[in-house]
């Protein structure tokens, strides 16, 4: 009962934030709505028992990545979005409707399928840091190491790209 209510509240906040992100004209407003979406998503993760991921979501996603976004927006002095004459017919005609069709189909299918109606019960299952850590360093060791290399490359790339040209 409580679960359902909590879920509905946070889901509503998510939805609102998402719509707001798409609808707002100033990028800073979009950034803030995105933070809201991420926060409420963290809550939803908690409802699903993924403690570690929820924490990481707040710390990394909302706390670091979005901050980076806000930094860049302010650095570039991004203003309100101007009206541009040139749109893209393809995007409007094919992309959005196509995507809507995909989403609707997926949604329809998902709600009909048997497994989709199983209630999500956490029970004794928790995504604790301990358990995830164990997985990371045992089965997923290689991907883990590779991602560290990836981050290194990203750092170097970002530094090189953002340098002022000589």
């Amino acid at each position: 009962m409580l679960e359902t209510v909590l879920f509905l509240i946070f889901a509503a906040i998510c939805v609102g934030g998402a719509i707001n992100l798409v609808a707002q004209r100033h990028p800073i407003s979009s950034a803030l709505s995105l933070i809201v979406v991420m926060g409420s998503l963290a809550m939803v993760y908690l409802l699903l028992g993924a403690e570690f991921v929820a924490a990481v979501q707040i710390i990394i996603y909302a706390g670091a990545i979005m901050v980076l976004f806000v930094f860049v927006i302010m650095l570039l002095n991004a203003g309100e979005e101007e009206r541009s004459a040139t749109g893209s017919r393809v995007a409007m005609v094919l992309g959005v409707p196509g995507l809507l069709a995909a989403a609707v189909t997926t949604g329809w299918v998902l709600t009909r399928h048997g497994i989709a109606s199983t209630p999500v019960v956490i029970g004794e299952f928790h995504g604790t840091a301990h358990a995830i850590g164990r997985l990371l360093f045992h089965e997923f060791l290689l991907p883990f190491e590779v991602t560290s290399v990836l981050i290194l490359i990203a750092i170097m790339g970002a530094v090189v790209l953002a340098r002022r040209g000589e």
Partner: protein, 100 residues
């Protein structure tokens, strides 16, 4: 009890909004943020299924997704800064030197 389908519908909605924003918006930073929204939607789906199946692989994968998102955001924003410096605009329609 919340059925799995609700979680999945929420995930689908977030993803769809991300794509819509990606296609509709003109500011390049906003487009980037729509991409992040998409990734979040996908993360939700992973976690939901992980819980239903009682497998922590989903959580680990979400972890990796976040790492990649972080790297991607860093590099992408660096690119945006570089483009801004040369083209003086954040309007994605203006970055069209390859136009016919």
């Amino acid at each position: 009890m919340v059925p799995l389908s609700w979680y999945l519908l929420l995930s689908a909605f977030l993803f769809a909004s991300g794509v819509a924003g990606f296609l509709i918006r003109r500011n390049i930073i906003t487009i980037f943020m729509s991409i992040e929204l998409m990734l979040n939607g996908v993360n939700l789906a992973f976690i939901a299924f992980a819980t239903v199946r009682h497998s922590l692989n989903g959580n680990v994968f979400v972890f990796f997704v976040m790492v990649v998102a972080a790297a991607e955001a860093a590099v992408g924003l660096a690119i945006i800064i570089a483009v801004y410096r040369t083209r003086e605009t954040l309007n994605v329609d203006r970055v069209n030197l390859l136009k016919l």
